[in-house]
Amino acid sequence: MDTKKLQKSEKAGFAPLSMLYACLVYLFLYLPIAVVIAFSFNTSKTNIIFEGFTFEWYAKMFDNRQLMESFQNTLIVAGVSTVFSLVLGTLCAVGLYKFEFKLKSLVSNSLYIPIAIPEIVFGIAMLVFFSSVHISTGMFTLIVSHITFSMPFVAITVRSRVAGFDRSIEEAAKDLGANEFRTFMRVTLPMIMPGVISGGMLALTMSLDDVVISFFTAGPDSTTLPLKILGMVKKGVSPDVNALSTLMILGTAVIMVISQIAQNRLEQRQGGNNSES
């Protein structure tokens, strides 16, 4: 009895303080985002003092051709690199799970290289590599570099999903007449779908977020939105950038929440592979 009471009182005393602390950290994380959003509604042309409320920047940003171009580039790069890294990474993860071969540790360790080395080194390595094979920087190099750094994350995410996989389920599919390809499409892929979705989301956000590597692999005609903003900061950023950023923030949040819900749904439906044992 005594100890129970003690624990209870301790918790009651502890909780508000820790809640306050957690809120402060969240405040720290969200404050700059809130500022970006707030200033997108600012009537002033400069991002300095809030003068009044307006929606005009949301209309005006479409006239800013350079901004729109960089935004478009960002979306193309993110979309294409996500698709490629998803396909390559998922196949690789499933392959690494399914097959035993001599160079397996080499292959799986090579996946960790882009994760482990500092981004800047990776960026300059790609830059010197492309210039040495006389490929000038542009959309192509940008996309290639994005695939390269996001694919390992996809592979590792999917692999952790595949690791808990009961081999006999694939055997069952083959036993029931499905060939290698059909088994993959009808059984393996649906089962690892939650992993594939989270891998895809990771690839997408990493691509949207990347500054360091893009900085080296983007050409003058293929700037992405982050690079554009980076270039503008010193000269002063106009509020249409805030407006576009706000839309991007909203868009990312919506995609993430939807994917999270989809993932939870899938997990729940499948109930885990071994919920009973």
């Binding site: 055997e171 083959k174 007449g177 779908m193």
Partner: protein, 376 residues
Amino acid sequence: MGEPIIRLVNVVKCYHENQVVKKLNLDIQQGEFLTLLGPSGCGKTTTLRMIAGFESVTEGQIYLEGNNVADLKPNQRDVNTVFQNYALFPHMTVEDNIAFGLVEKRVKKSEIKQRVAEMIKMVQLEGMEKRMPAQMSGGQKQRVAIARALINNPRVLLLDEPLGALDLKLRKQMQSELKHLQKRLGITFVFVTHDQEEALTMSDRIAVMNGGVLEQIGTPREIYNRPETKFVADFIGESNVLDAYVTEVSEGGIHVKMEFGDAVLKAGGFVEEEMVYLCVRPENLKMTKEAVPNFNIYGTVKEHIFIGSVCKTVVELASGLEVKMTSPQTDELYAVGTRVNIYWREDQGVILHTKEEQLYNLIENTVQIEGGMHEA
């Protein structure tokens, strides 16, 4: 018996240097319920998986209805498997799980629907068509797994310890259901288990495996009553196995000598000075204070253990070896410490060659046959 539906000829399976199945020869007859029985690691599951096509065959052939299928993939063989952990597709409903094989065969949708409904009725899962595997009990999953395999009308159904995960009561129920299902459908079942009781109750024939070798194949009665090797005698049910030595072979039978006594038993095919095993089931062993013709094995009653329907008695022989016997609990028991003579009915004990002797006989026979051929 006609042409066997499955025939394994000199099948060998190696993992790296390790031989897990050694020169296995096995014929499985059309329509029978055959059980592969043995301790874990005896090669029974590997054998089943080779028949299914999940494991390649290192050497030898596997014939399904006369065709060598050793090189065919699982999806090209007309057999289906019920897996140990059911291996249901977690992302599909019960219906979709059962329909899987038919969809692969590109059967018409309307036909699939009808056949799935029939199957669901057969395994008594009406009303659960739309459930996901995660929402079902072990027994229900088991039924889905069976229906999913049977809907393809396989020539042979392979079952890999399918009842292992169920609790005892459900397991007994599923045992009889499976047996009835097999009788009704007339499909050949190849069933793998390490549970001898399960094997005895369900099978038409049992193949006992140990260390990658087929020890004995026969009906449950043959396996139980006339074990051919010491392993089988030990593994199936309880058995008292006594080392003995043949001193004399005469018209009256063979005279055997043990460390702690001697006996005269009826048996043929043994030679003098041969080492043998005497195997007797506890329920066939009897004791008395009086002398018994042909038996001269004495010991002391050590303890009685009441285990419900029967009473188990441990008798310590002169050598210190203990033998177990069971008697109906209504029988009167000798007090602990009583000196008794042990005996059994002639036809209830089995005498086995020891391994070395078997080998010796084999060599001798071969030499004889070869010799005969030369003469001819």
